[in-house]
Amino acid sequence: MRVLIAEDEPTAARLLTRELESQGYQVFVAANGRDALELAQKENLSLVLTDWIMPEMDGLELCRALREHPDRSRYHYVIMISSRSTPKDRENAMEARIDDFLVKPYDQGELRARLGVARRVLEMQDRLHKQNEALVRSQEELLQANLHLTEATEIAEYARNRSLQLFEELPVAGFTYDTSGSVFEWNRRAETVFGINAHEVMGRTVWDVLGSKLVGKREKGQIHHVFEGGSFEDSPWSDGTHFFLVSSHCIRNRDGVVVGAVSTAVDVTQQRRAELLIERQKQDLVELNGRLQALAVTDGLTGIPNHRAFQERLQKLTEQANVGLGFSLAMVDVDHFKHFNDTYGHQAGDEVLRKTAECLIGNLRGSDFVARYGGEEFAILFRGIGEESAAQLCDRLRARIEAIETPYSKITASFGVAAWGSASTDAEDLIVAADQALYCAKRGGRNRVCSHSELEKAA
């Protein structure tokens, strides 16, 4: 055991040294507090015997300095040896945290006993210190382990929060539910898309929340298919007003058992509405086109097919005639039409034309066709009949026209008939032939029917 003596008085130091050495101590002597402090630190001395009054640094200051030493692991046991022994002196010594106090002149036996106490205290301190170090070490290990655990928990928490947030912020409606259909997650977009708040859906089934209009038999079937481990993508769901593309996948637990499903719904109502609008506009266009086409082939004044329609029909009939279905053409001209215009005005002329057209179209067979050919001239196509039959029908029409009631003078018309095949096998020639017959009828006194074959006989 090593001991430090701080004593400025040489004889006292000599005496103490001798005594301590005889007790087996290794003794270090310093003549003042400052030197003692230095020596204690340099030699790692923990047992200190100090005088009180010394030059440079007294015993109390030395004790305080040792207590303030940064290396707290070393405890210094300080015994003050002094002739100062008033209660006030002892109080000061205790305040400076002196461990023991020995009054000069001291007894050798007492010194030995006090040193024995000091040694035991220091040994205990040392043991405590070692135990404390071990404790600190295990505390540090525990702290480290805790730190790792906290980090791992934080990472897991972060990952969970992140995926939750991701789900919450998805740009499509998303919701999850267990295999009984009971909803347990309902993201922000789902709230806006379906107009239902998350707190309203918790614990209710998906089909209850979304309603039977949207989740009908088919959709429920799809969900149950997912519960069996399946999935579906972009299935169109609609309640009649809203349209969604719904996808669903099953959710499995760690053992692979399906415990629920996650669904996403993309609101395509706007697109669907746009599509429907386009569809309707398309139909409108078709209708409009039809009307335009009708206008293109209809005579504006009389409402019956115009010249162009006549040409088209004639073309068609000539094509059909080539495979054996014959037809006849009659050219009709209102007699003295100029007379109506001149006498009763152009409106009267228009009305004559309208009434004539009305009469013609009203008395034709269903398979026949009449068009305004131009001016006061009309053309009639009779399907499947020859000149003679056509002439007969024309004569009936002529009589009907004559019977039209008008506020003006009587309307009459002349008819020229020509049959396909017998008169001509060319559309242009057929018209020419019918015109010739019409000319004949005019010349023959008007209000009559003349056929091309009669013309040929006469010639």
Binding site: T11, R14, Q108
Partner: protein, 124 residues
């Protein structure tokens, strides 16, 4: 009235105390005495000088060391005037201090003579 070494009548050294400390080792005792004779005159001089300069803290400390030295050896008669000086200096008192210093001188002279006679050592 202060006692003087001349009329004191006490033995300059408490032999019982000294034997207790030295465990009867007279050689060691002689060593101690030699040391005492070496360090004491400069301490007395320090007291005198400091007193003349009015440096009471130094007077107090030097007187305290002198007192301790004396008591270590068991030189009780000489330690008394030293203690008185120490106390006066602490109290800021100087009246009669010079006389006390003279007493210290006188006791030391008696003591030195006794030491030389007893242990055969003398101041260097």
């Amino acid at each position: 009235m202060n006692q003087t070494p001349m009329n004191d009548g006490r033995c300059p050294i408490d032999h019982e105390h000294l034997t207790d400390m030295s465990a009867g080792d007279t050689e060691f005792e002689a060593e101690l005495m030699q040391e005492f004779l070496r360090v004491t005159p400069p301490l007395i001089e320090q007291v005198e000088t400091a007193l003349a300069a009015g440096d009471l803290p130094t007077v107090e400390r030097a007187a305290h060391t002198l007192k301790g030295s004396c008591r270590s050896l068991g030189a009780r008669p000489m330690s008394d005037p030293c203690e008185k000086l120490e106390k006066m200096a602490r109290a800021g008192e100087t009246t009669g201090a010079n006389e006390l210093v003279q007493d210290v001188h006188a006791y030391f002279d008696v003591l030195a003579e006794y030491i030389t006679k007893t242990w055969g050592v003398r101041a260097a």
